[in-house]
Structure formats: C-alpha cells, structure tokens
C-alpha cells in the first residue's frame, strides 16, 4: 500500500467526516428533544422541563459549535481533495448541497442565536419557535446531504455531456433516488437513538449519584420511551435499507455479509474473519439460509457473492464486514436496553433499578458507535466507486502532491484531537454536575435562565492570567 495523494485524501476524508458526523448525529436528536422539552414547559409550566431544557441546551451549544466548524471543512474538501469529482458531478449534486445551505444552514445558524442568547430577551413563544426552527433545520439539512450521498450510492437521472461531465436529466430522479427514503429514515432514527442513549446515560448517572432526582427521572422516562419505540423500528428500517442495497449494490451487501460464493441458502454470519487473498471467510459461524431469507425473502434464493464481481470491482471486505457487525450489534443492544427499560417501567421499578442504570451509563456511547460503524460500512462498501458504478474513487482525486495532503491530514489529527478532548471534557463535566433543580435550596453555582451558555459566575470569579 502506497501513501499517495489518493490514499491520504481518502484517509483525510474518512477522518474529517467521521469526526463531523458524531455531532450532527447527536444534535439532530437533541434539537428535537429540546423542542419537546420547551413545548412541555410552556404547556405544563412544570419547572422540571425548564431545568432540563436549560441543562441540555448548554450541551447542545457545545456540540452544535463543534458540528458547525467541522462541517465548514466539508464544504471545501470536495474541491481541495476531490476536484475531479467536483467538476464531474457538480451539475448533478451541486444544487442539492446549494439547497442545503439555502434552506437549512442559515435557518439553523440564525435561530440558534435566539435559542442560546434570547431566553430573557424575547417572548417565550418566539423562543419556542426558534428552538423548533433549529430542530426542523437540522432535519432539512439531513435530508439534502442524505439525498446527495444516496445519489452517490444509487445514481440515476443523469447523462454524460459532450465535455464528459455529468448532467442531470431529471432532478426529481436525482433527489428521490432509490436509496434515499430508507437511508434518510435510517439516519434520522439513528440520530434520535444516539440522543436517547446519551440522555438515558446522563440521567441514569444522575440517579445513581442522587442528583436532580425529579429532572433525571423525567428525562430517563423520555429516553427509555424513545429507545423502546425507535430501536425496534430502526431494525425494520435498517432491514429495508439492506434490501435496497442488495438490489442496487449487491457487491456491498456481499462484503457486509462475508459472502464469497454465489449460491442458494446464503448464511447470516455471526462471526468470521474475511480473507481477501484466500477469497474466503475463515472461522465462519452462521445460520445457513438466513442471509438469503433476509435479502431475498426466501432461504433457498440464490444470492450473489463476491465471486460475481471482478477483484478490482470489490470493496474492501474485512472492514465492511466488521463495521456492519458492530453497527448491528449496537442496534440490538439498544433494542435490548429499550425492552429492559420498558419491563422495569411496567414493574414500577424504573427509578430504583440500579443495575439497569449502570448498564445505561455504560451504553451511553452506543448510538455514536453504531452511527460511525454504519457509515463506515456504507461508504467503504461503496468502494472502489465514488459514484457507484459510474466514477471510480481513484479517478476523482485532486492533482495535489501527497506532501500537501499529508500535511493537512497531520494537522487535522492534532487539531481534532485537541478540540474533541476539550469538548468531551466540558460536556462530561456538565453531565457529571447534572441539571439545576428546584428541589434543594439554590446552589451557589446555579445560574438564572438567560445564560444557558456561559458559566458566567465562574468566569467572573476566575480572571485570566
């Protein structure tokens, strides 16, 4: 393997987008959660909802900031590292990204200002409206970026122009391409689940350490409800996404499943060690026929293995196979925790089930892991194509020297490590402190509404230098 501009650019794109996606995956769900909390506060005037809002909005501000700055990188990286791709497909998916900026980014950024700094400045209805607008903005943004990415997975509605670039013949077909519905639903549910896992973990931690009991019980119920309803639904949607992938990207599914041979009764492998040289999966343990049944609805159906594709048209198998298993594993973990939560809730022991609370704290990052693993299997599984079946990744890279890419990648590694560590530290610090509560007499450090952002008291007391 040679560290040329192509490989370095791929590593850089994977690293920067992997870093970026953590934050939208969390803030899409968190924005909706905040809108629900504020709506409940306005409807019931119960202080728990206000306290929860003011607590989670601080974490939202931290995460959203990191999402914004890592997202700006993406809008330039298509050109810096993938200029041939940009020039080739700009007329097809460029408008989709343009619409994302016009219909979502400005909306989120502008109303975020009111959401974070307007609690005391504007009326409660306008503030609620701003929170809802930010929440809707995150969903619109997810729609456009998923439309562009899904077109790269299942391209249609385009032709080649005289100069060799691609042009759209039908934008409705480009946007509503075959994999968009299932992949968009899959991503939004993943975001909701990711948020639910974090909220559940934080609330369980607060209950274990006996902080903000009323708030934490409420938030725990909300997140367990989300988990119990959405995690099983996600299994169904994920399956649908797999069926679409099997129809349009059979090589990807074969790599995810570790199938080398085209045959009837493909198994579902629980474990295995794909070996690309030997073209086999070692130590495979699986359920015969279940794979055929899942993707084709019939255990005896003949399903393509990787042998149906020339070696240069196959995706990297090991990483696709294992990323897929990690995602599915996390998915079923969340289903299990949702059911466990529903069961203790029915037994009226949700507030005291300390073993369950401990499990939730441990599983708090499950959503993040699932999202990252899912994206790795989707994107690596698309290789060697950047636009599936149309444009190879190797033909899409910019004419930049490897030295430049190595430099930028190195700086990204360092900068993101610093920013991520600091951000994670501040978020964990907030979580370990827990929400303010009306139960105890007000603490010294409690802040009145209006500064969801700054820990003003602290910064006043601590002079720089």
């Amino acid at each position: 393997m040679e560290f040329d501009a192509l490989l370095l650019s791929r590593l850089q794109f994977a690293f920067t987008i992997g870093f970026h996606i953590i934050f939208p995956a969390f803030t899409i769900g968190l924005a909706s959660f905040l809108a629900v909390l504020e709506g409940l506060w306005l409807a019931t005037k119960k202080p728990v909802f206000r306290n929860l809002y003011l607590f989670w909005v601080k974490i939202f501000a931290l995460s959203f900031g990191m999402g914004v700055v890592s997202g700006v990188v993406m809008s330039y990286q298509f050109g810096t590292n993938w200029s041939v791709f940009s020039a080739q497909v700009g007329s097809v998916i460029g408008p989709l990204l343009g619409y994302e900026v016009l219909t979502a980014f400005f909306l989120e950024a502008s109303f975020l200002g009111i959401m974070l700094f307007g609690w005391k400045k504007v009326g409660e209805k306008l503030h609620f409206f701003s929170t809802c607008t930010v929440a809707v903005g995150t969903l619109i943004s997810a729609f456009w970026i998923l439309a562009a990415n899904s077109w790269m997975q299942t391209p249609q509605g385009f032709a080649h122009a005289a100069d060799g670039t691609m042009i759209a013949t039908d934008f409705a077909q480009v946007i509503f391409n075959p994999s968009l519905p299932s992949r968009f639903a899959h991503m939004v549910l993943a975001a909701f689940l990711t948020t639910a896992m974090v909220v559940a973990g934080a609330s369980a931690f607060a209950l274990l350490t006996k902080k903000a009991i009323a708030e934490s019980r409420t938030a725990l119920r909300m997140s367990v409800l989300m988990m119990a309803l959405v995690a099983p639904l996600q299994v169904v949607v994920g399956h649908e996404s797999g069926v679409v992938a099997h129809e349009y990207q059979p090589a990807k599914v074969a790599a995810m499943e570790g199938w080398w041979e085209t045959k009837a009764q493909q198994p579902t492998l629980l474990f295995g060690w794909p070996d690309e040289k030997a073209e086999t999966t070692h130590a495979a343990i699986g359920i015969p026929g279940m794979g055929s049944w899942i993707v084709a609805g019939d255990a005896n159906a003949e399903v393509q293995g990787l042998d149906a594709f020339a070696p240069e048209d196959r995706p990297p198998v090991w990483i696709t196979f294992w990323a897929f298993r990690v995602m599915v594993g996390m998915g079923f973990l969340m289903v299990g925790l949702g059911l466990w939560g529903a069961a203790v809730w029915l037994l009226k022991r949700l507030d005291t089930a300390s073993l369950y609370h401990r499990a939730l704290v441990l599983a708090a990052p499950a959503g993040f892991i699932a999202v990252l693993a899912g994206w790795i299997s989707a994107e690596v599984g698309r290789q060697p194509w950047v636009v599936y079946g149309v444009l190879r990744t190797a033909d899409a890279v910019s004419p930049v020297p490897a030295g430049s890419v190595a430099t930028s990648l190195l700086f990204f590694l360092v900068v993101y490590a610093i920013v991520f560590s600091a951000g994670a530290l501040y978020i964990l610090r907030l979580i370990s402190k827990g929400p303010d509560t009306d139960e105890d007499p007000p603490k010294q450090t409690s802040e009145p509404p209006g500064t969801p952002l700054g820990t003003g008291v602290k910064s006043a007391a601590t002079k720089e230098g």
Binding site: G79, S83, S91, V92, F106, S459
Partner: protein
C-alpha cells in the same frame, strides 16, 4: 433563459455572498484580531458577547461561498481549491479553533480559559491572514491548463500575497473595531474609537499598497485602469477615479466619525470601504472567475442545474436576509455586563 445569462447571474450572486461574508464575518474575525489589545478578561468577555449571537450566521456565508461555487461553477471550484490547498486548510483549522472557543472559553477553568482565549485570537488572526493570502493568490492569477490546476503547492505564497494578507487582517480589524464602537459603551467604547482611528489610517495605506501591487500583476489590469509606470491614460482613468477618491473620503469620515463619537456610522463607513475595494477588484479582474483562466460561462454548471438553483435562491435569499436582519435587530442593544455575567 440563455446559459450565459444564468452564469452571469450566478457569478453576481456568489460575488454578493462573498462580499456579505467579508462585511459580516469580517467584523467578528476583527474582534478576535483585537483580542490581544483588550485591557483584561472582563473586556474580552464583553467583546465576545458583542458577536456571540451572530457569528455562526455570519460564517454561513462562507459555506454559501464554497457550496455555491461548487454548485454553480464546479469547474472553477475544481481549479481553485487545489490551487489554494494549503491556505484553505490553514483557514479551516483556524476557524475551528476560534469557532469552538466561543463556547469553550466559558467552560474552561483557569488554564483552559487562558488557552481558549489565545486560540480565539490566534484563530481569528490566522483565518484572516489565510483569506488575505488567497485573495492575493486569486488576484495574481491561477496556473490552469485544460481546467486543471498545474501550478506548485506554494504558488500562493509571494510578496504580493503577504501584502494582501496583512491588508485584509487590518481591514477586518477595522470592521471589528467599528462594530465594537457600535456595540459597547464606557471604557471599551473609548478604546474602540481609538482603534478605529488608528486602523483607518493603516487600512488607507494598505489599500493604496495593494492597489499599486494589483496594477503590476497583469498588463490587462494596468490597461483597464489606464495607468502605467510612466503614463496616465486620462480618458480611461477618469471613469474609475471615483473609487480611490471614495476610499480616501471614507477613511477620512471614519476618522471624523470616531472623533464625533458616532455609534453606527463607523461600521457602515468600513463596510462601504470594503465595497469600494471590492468593486475595484471586480473592475480589475472582470470577466474572470479564475483569473486569468476561466470566465463564469466556461466554469458554469449545466443550465438546468443553474436554473434549479436560481429557483431556490429567488425565494430563499430574501427570506434569509430577512431573518438575518431580524436577529440583528433583536440583538441590537449595546452589550452590558448583564449580558456577560450573572
């Protein structure tokens, strides 16, 4: 509509987005550039509070600039981005530091706060300097053959680009100082007035130097302004002479405005000063979208893509400008200690 008309409309829209970016994010980057000159931590808190509710919206114009270029002029995007590879990443990394510093500065404890204060300031300075470098590299022209960048990785680093870089840092600092005059009171207001006066002088010198440098980059520019080392073509120059005169007058009005303790006017004069410089550049580089290699029509996306984008932009841009103005209106009041501390 003809394809070339669509390309011209989009060139104008993206130029407008880039200008709005400079006028808006310019002042919040400028506040970061002025951070080292603040008296103490309390003053820096006020400076940051003067921009905190709006910086994210301001930076979105940069995303529209990049995303819009990708969408409307993919070939220009594909030629320019590799040419500016290193300064773009320098800018992006700097913007990351300063962007997260808005939040992190408040969450850090003693050493953390100190570190994020430095990161905010250094990030603002480096981002502005990198943008200035790209501005210079853009003006001096990009080495493109058959739509692909063929120059070296350090083509963007020349004495001229160092000059434009310093000029843009000074220009953003001026916008920042003028914004602080508008948004602050008391001691910081007085300090910001003094900054405006000093920076107006510095920017006047910098604009003069960049203008002279620009005349030297390509004979086509010299020809357009009617100016050479030895002669002036008066009939040509008289048409463009209002620009340098307007720039000089604006610098004088900035100085006077600061003396007269005006609040909003200095910011408006600074934006107009940017506009004058921008129009001057447009005159120099017209009709190139990649100087001196590609015109908008050559770089444009397919007609149906441009048309689809335009159908989105026609309703959305006025709506965006509307709610952006509304948010500015909501947060129009001077920053008080109340906004920073509780």
């Amino acid at each position: 509509m003809l394809g070339s008309d669509l390309a011209t409309i989009w060139a104008f829209l993206i130029a407008t987005a880039v200008f709005l970016y400079a006028a808006l994010d310019g002042f919040d980057l400028g506040v970061g550039i002025l951070f080292p000159f603040a008296k103490d931590s309390h003053e820096r808190d006020q400076m940051q509070a003067a921009i905190a509710p709006v910086w994210d919206g301001n930076e979105t114009w940069l995303v529209l600039g990049g995303g819009g270029l990708f969408a409307a002029f993919p070939k220009a995007y594909g030629a320019l981005m590799p040419a500016f590879y290193l300064p773009i990443f320098l800018m992006l990394l700097a913007l990351i530091f300063r962007g997260v510093a808005f939040e992190f500065r408040h969450h850090g404890r003693k050493s953390g706060k100190k570190w994020w204060t430095v990161a905010f300031s250094a990030g603002s300075i480096v981002a502005a300097a990198a943008q200035g470098m790209m501005l210079g590299a853009f003006i001096q022209g990009v080495n493109v053959v058959d739509g692909e960048f063929v120059g070296g990785p350090l083509d963007w680093l020349t004495p001229f680009t160092l000059l434009t870089s310093a000029a843009l840092v000074a220009g953003y600092a001026l916008l920042g100082a003028a914004w602080l005059v508008f948004k602050t009171q008391g001691e910081l207001f007085e300090r910001s007035r003094a900054w405006v006066k000093q920076l107006a002088l510095l920017v006047a010198l910098a604009m003069g130097a960049v203008s002279l440098g620009t005349l030297g980059v390509d004979p086509r520019v010299t020809y357009r302004w009617g100016l050479t080392m030895t002669s002036i073509d008066w009939p040509t120059f008289i048409n463009v002479a209002p620009l340098p005169i307007a720039a000089g007058s604006l610098c004088f009005m900035l100085w006077r405005g600061a003396d007269l303790r005006q609040h909003l006017q200095p910011y408006i004069y600074s934006v107009l000063l940017f506009l004058v410089g921008y129009v001057g550049l447009a005159i120099s580089l017209w009709p190139y979208i990649v100087p001196f290699a590609m015109t908008p029509a050559e770089a444009a996306a397919a007609d149906n893509a441009l048309a689809l984008l335009l159908w989105g932009a026609i309703p959305m841009l006025p709506i965006i400008l509307g709610y952006t103005a509304y948010v500015y209106w909501l947060f129009r009041a001077k920053v008080t200690d109340e906004a920073t501390y509780h």
